[in-house]
Symmetry: C2
């Protein structure tokens, strides 16, 4: 049953009381600075408002054993709160659900406090949710790996021999992760013209998005102490949308034998609101059956994922509208977040609070999560209607804004939403 709050929440909002995603914000009039900088304080989204947890905490609203007196909400990142672990996350959720409900008078009847802690989202700048120590990107969608493998190696050798046995991953670049709304610049790099053996250094001609989700790590582990699959879920604080921008021509030339580097490290965009697993729990669903069976350290007793509907939209330069170009769903992902945590740490590698685990492109049968797949490596254009005209794309054009959206659909139009992950491609400004 829907929970009632005294804060206005429009029907179909991404952020009803059941969601309460965490993020880091600053009031726009106080700070017009660099949104990639982790200043600001912790809040949760509710309808069109941000609830300022820093101020709420100063007002003594958190009285439970984990959060009473803690100053993790008066910070410019969620790292400290993430580090506290599930008991603290649950305590915050319980406290906030009660305080913000229509049935509870403490905040409902205190207009002065309400004015302090309820801030319209239109008046805030959202920052990165965490100081991201390390960013790992997986390759967890079987449909995506199959599509890419088919494009590059043909249908018969699409999946590499290791793919069904372990969640393949690479270490990504943490420094260039930016919050939704940040423009990204078309990168330059070495590419090989078709038929040539001599590379040239030019702006990438094939800039792509990758529709992904990312999990922020909670407590994590000490170096040398793997996290067993049974407790891996406890180390996932919550989930965001993630666009792993890719320059396919740079990537193609550079990636042998050590993997993607400059083709990927120029930008990764994340949505600012981290949706907790507790909020997603009503949308838990079975994860795909794994065949062949995985090794015991990756075997889950209850193998579940979440039914998150995903969409990619493109808004061309001169258009005021965006159009959907693909749709997918997290539920199709072959490898789950707990499996990623268990595999990542199985070597002894340590995860730290605030680390980010990307899923890799989430494709499904009818919904490829990248233009590489949609255009089948540039062999066919996709067409979409937008602002009264037809647009054709193999890859992204300068001025294109890519918008990722995601939500879980509940009964009566209620939903748990992720907001959006948005970024615009600026032209390369170099003389090269």
């Amino acid at each position: 049953m829907a929970l009632d709050t005294f804060v206005p929440v429009a029907p179909g909002s991404d952020f009803p009381l059941e969601n309460l995603p965490f993020g880091v914000f600053s009031r726009r009039r106080q700070s017009g600075g660099d949104p990639s900088c982790c200043c600001g304080r912790v809040g949760v989204a509710l309808g069109e408002h941000v609830v300022d947890l820093g101020t709420l905490s100063e007002a003594g609203a958190f009285t439970g054993p984990m959060l009473s007196g803690a100053d993790c909400f008066r910070k410019g990142s969620l790292n400290e709160f993430m580090a506290l672990g599930y008991a603290a996350w649950q305590e915050a959720r319980t406290t906030l659900t009660r305080l913000l409900s229509s049935a509870e008078g403490v905040l409902r009847d205190d207009r002065t406090l309400q004015e302090k802690i309820l801030i319209p989202q239109s008046e805030v700048t959202m920052h990165l949710p965490a100081r991201i120590g390390d960013y790992t990107d997986f390759y967890a969608s079987k449909e995506h790996a199959t599509n890419v493998g088919t494009i590059f190696r043909g249908k018969d050798n699409a999946l590499q021999p290791n793919w069904c046995h372990l969640p393949v991953a690479y270490h990504g670049r943490a420094s260039s992760i930016v919050p939704s709304g940040t423009d990204v610049k078309r990168p330059r790099g070495q590419t090989l013209k078709p038929g040539s053996t001599q590379p040239h250094f030019v702006p990438s001609a094939v800039v792509d998005f990758e529709l992904e989700m990312g999990a922020f790590v909670g407590p994590g582990n000490q170096l040398g102490s793997p996290i067993p699959i049974e407790s891996a879920k406890e180390h996932i604080f919550g989930i965001v949308l993630l666009n792993d921008w890719s320059a396919r021509d740079i990537q193609k030339w550079e990636y042998v034998p050590l993997g993607p580097f400059n083709g990927k490290n120029w930008a990764t965009t994340v949505s600012p609101w981290v949706v907790t697993l507790d909020a997603l729990e009503p949308f838990e669903c079975p994860a795909p059956v794994q065949e062949p069976p995985v090794l015991p350290y990756l075997r889950e007793q209850h193998r579940t994922t979440y039914d998150v509907q995903l969409e990619v939209q493109i808004q061309p330069r001169d258009s005021s509208e965006a159009a959907a170009v693909s749709a997918s769903n997290l539920r199709h992902l072959y490898w789950t977040f707990p499996q990623m945590v268990a595999h990542h740490t199985s070597s002894g590698c340590n995860l730290r609070p605030g680390d980010l685990l990307g899923t890799g492109t989430i494709s499904c049968e009818d919904g490829p999560g990248s233009l590489l797949e949609l255009s089948w490596a540039g062999q066919r254009q996709i067409a979409f209607e937008c602002g009264g005209s037809t647009h054709n794309r193999c890859y992204l054009m300068d001025g294109d804004t890519v918008i990722l959206k995601g939500h879980c659909a509940g009964p009566n139009g209620r939903r748990i939403g992720f907001g959006e992950c948005r970024g615009r491609v600026l032209p390369d400004d170099s003389q090269c």
Copy 2:
């Protein structure tokens, strides 16, 4: 000519007054804690002592325009000092060279201050020099890439087509970088038995070292603003020894198509003293000629590197001695640090103060920098004499301590040394 200091420096010390490498230390009696934690304060090494720059700074010793009043030395990491850039580094070096010289009375004649700021190295714990935001590992040695390529693909296809055109690299794991002296644990992981198609999950049977050096980034760049090759050197604060521990069997099975992951992310060891480029300047020498010529964004007007003699030693479990098993030299490295910086940022990727750039294994004609090469993928054992007995190795055994050393040899036995980068392999302690 050798500089005289009133602090005792033994002949052949790695740390004469000409060196003054920067590091982060804490007094052992004050903090017996986790050495990977960035607590402590900034110092320079001089002979067998650490000079405490935090206390020296509090005493008003830094009076120049960049460092007067700055509190970058009263920190548990070098990041703030690294961010200040070359003018500040030079000012610190000039000030310290003067203060510590025999000719200058201010510190020489102040026994009270001397007692405060000169601490025997035997009484301190060395920490990581910086909070490392991102760690990138290159593959910059032509001899190493050729050896590895020959082992895996045969002599005719040893170097991949891209290798001579760009410094190949991958993003490494920052969380598992530890300071010299930290034990590392043999990792577990998925490996494939010869002839099998089914992986199993076992402790790695082929644990290796990689003899590398690492450069710490100074000011760095904003996202979207590449660092041109001409000014790339200004962004290098200094250099350390680096051992990029590798589990070859895990790496071999996992690395297609996205590169090394769990085979490498379980530990990387660095030496604690960062030697500045100013200290290395007398040992500058021409870098290898690059043929074919590189693209303009990688072309250096004065293409130089440094003559750093490198050595790998192994100390077996029950031995009190270590024996050299290989020797190499930084001067053979095909790609220079400025080229790495220019290439890394050419996509717009941002480097931040304290980021670490590893060279990749530094092999030379007679000196392979890894056991993979020394044993030719386990096909032949190497033998070394140690503590009166002969030891044979294809790969590292539990209890082996690997010690990397490096120095530049000057006239009259004077040298600029890097100290050591040491780590012992502990057995896997799991039931798997």
